[in-house]
Symmetry: C2
Subunit: 436 residues, 2 copies
C-alpha cells in the first residue's frame, strides 16, 4: 500500500495541539479586548460570489491574490474571502435592521494566493474589529486604542509603535500640492522607508524621474514622524488652508489626538500608505521594534465601501490584528512557548487489566468534578503509559492497580514535585484539585 | 449607485451577533466536554488537494457533494474539506512523532455541494472527537460516553437515544449469512426504517426482488433494537459462531456494553448503516426524540483510513457532533434563545458633547476593571443612545453629563430593576459590578 501525499497543500498548515493551545489562548485574549470595547462577534461564509469581492481591493489582490474558481455545476464564479472587511460591508447591506453604530469583531481564516514564504501563508487568521456608522474622529481614536490594548494583551507591553496617517492628507499633499499625476509609484517608494531608508527612497524617486525640488519636498515630508498633536501643528504650518483634503484630514487627526492612550507610542507618519484601495480617511499600522517583520496590525477608515453594496454611504473604520505575525514574533522573542502539549490534567495509569473497570469509574468521577482526565485505552504496559504521560507533561498521574481497587483508593503522583498521595475514592476529586 | 447583491451565496449563511453569541456558548460547552475526556485541539486547512479526499467517502460524496476546482495558476486540483476525518487521517500520517493513542478534537467548518434546504447548508460546522491508535472496545465505549455527555451538556438532558451497530455485523449477517451479493440497496432500504416504518421497508425490499424468506429474516433482524447486552445475547443465539465477522463484532460490542453510561438510552440497532465508506467496526448515531430531524451525532470506527496515507494500518474511532442540527432543534424546542443581542454590559450615555472627554475616561476605567463597555461615538442625542441600548438590552447604562463631570461622578441606571445609583468616579467600577 503506497502512502499518499501527507503534507497539507503548499502554503497551508496543519496545527498540532501545542500550536493550537497557544493559538486558542492568544485568540481568547484578543477576543476579550474586543469584547471589553463593546464589540460583538459575527461570521460570514468562507466563499463569496466573485462579484462581491471584485473591484474593492485594487489591482494586485484582484489580478493575482484572490482564490477564485468557477463552480462546474452552476457555472457561477466563487472566491474564497480575501479579508473580513469586504464581507462586513456586504453583511451590513444584508442586515439593515442592525442599529448603527454597529461594533463587530470577526475572527476567522482568509485565503490569499500568495507565493508562500517565511511568515506568509495562503490561509491565515484575521482578527478584525470595526465600527460601522460613525464618521467622527472618536470612532477612529477608539480603534487605535483598541489596537494598542490588543497588542498589549498579547504580551507586547512596550516595544511597539502605532503609526497613523490619513488618505486625505496623502491626496491633498502628494496629489494636489505636489501635483503628482500618477502618485501610486511614489506611494510605493515612500512606503518602503523602513526597509530601505531615506537614501533608498531618494534613489527610488529619482528613478521615477521626478524633479529634484519635488523629491526634496517629499523627503522633507517623510521627516514628519512625531506624536500626532505635534505633527498636526507642523503640517498646519506647511500646508494649512491649502486645500480641503488636507484641512479635513488635519482636523480629523486633531480630534483623535486627545482621545488616544497617553502611554503608547503613537505617531503620525507621512510614509504610511497601506495597500488597499478602499481606505478614505485615517489609516493605521502597528509595528514591533523587533523582530522586524512588517506590521502586526493595520486598518483605517473606508467610508465608501458599504455604499457599493447598499446604494447609500455608511461610514466605517476598523483594524485587523495580524495574529499570525504576532505568533511568529512572540515565539521568536520567547514571549510565547509551545511547551504546553496537552490540556489534560490527570492521566489514569492502569496497572493491570483486572482493575480497568475501577479505573474507568475513577476517570468518570474526576471528569464529573471538572478535571480533564485521560485513561489508557490501548492496553499499554504501565511503563509505556507513564512514558507517554511524561512526554506530554501531564501534571498529575492517578495509579490504579489491584490494591487500589481492593481498598477503594487512588494513588496520585505529581511528577513536578514528586508528591505521592493515596486518597479514598470519594476524596479523589478534591485531592486531585489540591495537587493541580 | 446601484447596490450589488448583498445576500451570501446560496446555501451559505451570515451569522449576526445574537446567533454568534449562542453558537459560541454552545461550542464552548462542547469543547469543555471534549477537554474533560482528555482530547486536545488540532486544525487542518480548509483546502486539501483533491487526491487527498478522492477515494475515501464513496460515490455520492465524491461524484456530487465535494466542492472541487482547478487552480488556474498551478493547474492543481483542490477541494474544500468535506469532513474532518479524512484530514485527520492525513494529519496523523504527517505527524508520526505524535504519541499514540492520540485523542484530538477538531471544531470547524466543512463544505458540501448540497442542494440547500431547511437545516441543510453548504457550509456548516463539524465538532469531532477521535481516538487514534486503539483497536479496543474501550476506545469505542469512550466515544459513545463522550457523545452522550456532549448532547447532555448542550441541554438535552434526556429525550435522545444512542444507536449502535457494527459494520462487521452488517457484513456477517446480510452479506455472508443472507448471501446478498449486492447489499447496498438493502442497506439503503433498512436505513429508512425510522422514516417509512417496517411495512415501508418490506415494500422496498420486495421491489428489490428478494426472496420472501430473505425478506422475513431481514425484517426479523430489524426487531433487534434493544440494550446492547441483551442484543448481543439475542444475536449470539441466532448467529453465534456462524462466521468471524459476526463473532468479532459481537465480542467487541460486548466489551463496550459494560463501560457505557448506565443512565443513557443506548441500544443496538440493526437498521443503522451510516453512509460513509470508511467505517470498519462499531458505528453510532444519536437521535433526538423530537423534533424528528435525523441524527444529531454520528461516528464510528475506521481502521483502514489512516493506512491509505501512512502505508501501515492505525486503528481509529470517533464521533462528530452535529451542532447545526442541534442548534436548529434547540431553538425549535425553546431550549435555546436568541435573546442575548450583545455581550456589552455597560452603555455610556453621553448627555452633552462637552462631557465627552470625561465620559471617555469613565469608559476606559470600566474596561480596565473587566467591564464590557460601549460609549457613543456617533454624537447621537441622549434619547437615541438610550433607544439603541434598550433595543440591544444592554443591562446597565452610565449617564454622563455636565453635572456628573463637574462633580466627578457617574449616574448608573439599571433598566431591568429601575435602580438608579450615583457613584463617585473612583467607585464606578465596583458600583457597576454590583449592579450587573
Amino acid at each position: 500500500m503506497a502512502g499518499q501525499r501527507v503534507r497539507p497543500p503548499r502554503g497551508f498548515r496543519d496545527f498540532t495541539p501545542e500550536m493550537m493551545i497557544l493559538r486558542k489562548e492568544l485568540l481568547s485574549k484578543l477576543e476579550r479586548v474586543f469584547q471589553l470595547y463593546g464589540y460583538d462577534p459575527i461570521d460570514t461564509p468562507a466563499l463569496e460570489y466573485w462579484e462581491t469581492l471584485a473591484g474593492k481591493y485594487g489591482e494586485e489582490a484582484e489580478g493575482r491574490l484572490i482564490w477564485r474558481f468557477r463552480d462546474p455545476w452552476s457555472g457561477r464564479e466563487y472566491a474564497l474571502r480575501y479579508d473580513l472587511t469586504v464581507p462586513l460591508a456586504r453583511f451590513i447591506a444584508n442586515h439593515q435592521d442592525i442599529p448603527l453604530p454597529f461594533r463587530r469583531y470577526h475572527i476567522g481564516p482568509v485565503w490569499r494566493h500568495e507565493e508562500p514564504q517565511r511568515g506568509r501563508y495562503r490561509e491565515f487568521y484575521q482578527c478584525d474589529a470595526d465600527i460601522v456608522g460613525s464618521p467622527y474622529p472618536e470612532a477612529d481614536a477608539e480603534i487605535v486604542n483598541l489596537a494598542v490594548d490588543s497588542i498589549k494583551a498579547l504580551g507586547f507591553e512596550a516595544g511597539f509603535q502605532v503609526r497613523v496617517n490619513d488618505r486625505r492628507l496623502l491626496r491633498g499633499v502628494y496629489e494636489v500640492e505636489l501635483g503628482l499625476e500618477n502618485p501610486l509609484p511614489v506611494y510605493r517608494a515612500v512606503d518602503k522607508l523602513d526597509k530601505i531608508g531615506i537614501e533608498g527612497v531618494r534613489s527610488e524617486l529619482e528613478k521615477l524621474g521626478l524633479a529634484s525640488t519635488t523629491i526634496s519636498r517629499i523627503l522633507d515630508l517623510l521627516e514628519v514622524r512625531m506624536p500626532i498633536g505635534e505633527a498636526v501643528a507642523e503640517l498646519r504650518g506647511r500646508y494649512g488652508g491649502k486645500n480641503t483634503h488636507i484641512d479635513e484630514a488635519l482636523n480629523h487627526l486633531e480630534g483623535m489626538a486627545s482621545l488616544l492612550h497617553g502611554d503608547a507610542d503613537i505617531i503620525l507618519d507621512m510614509s504610511l500608505v497601506r495597500g488597499l484601495d478602499y481606505y478614505t480617511g485615517p489609516i493605521l499600522e502597528v509595528v514591533l521594534e523587533r523582530p522586524r517583520i512588517g506590521s502586526v496590525a493595520g486598518g483605517g477608515r473606508y467610508d465608501g465601501l458599504i455604499g457599493i453594496f447598499l446604494g447609500k454611504q455608511i461610514p466605517a473604520t476598523g483594524v485587523s490584528i495580524g495574529i499570525e505575525r504576532i505568533i511568529d514574533a512572540g515565539i521568536e522573542l520567547g514571549i510565547y512557548s509551545l511547551e504546553k502539549k496537552t490540556l489534560t490534567q490527570v492521566q489514569v495509569i492502569v496497572l493491570d487489566g483486572d482493575s480497568f473497570d475501577y479505573a474507568w469509574r475513577v476517570a468518570s468521577m474526576l471528569r464529573e468534578h471538572g478535571i480533564r482526565t485521560r485513561i489508557d485505552v490501548s492496553r499499554a504496559s504501565p511503563k509505556s503509559q507513564r512514558k507517554k504521560a511524561r512526554r506530554l507533561q501531564v501534571p498529575l498521574l492517578a495509579f490504579i492497580g489491584s490494591e487500589e481497587k481492593a481498598r477503594g483508593e487512588v494513588t496520585f503522583y505529581k511528577p513536578s514535585t514528586g508528591e505521592r498521595i493515596r486518597s479514598k475514592l470519594e476524596d479523589a476529586p478534591s485531592t486531585a484539585l489540591k495537587l493541580l
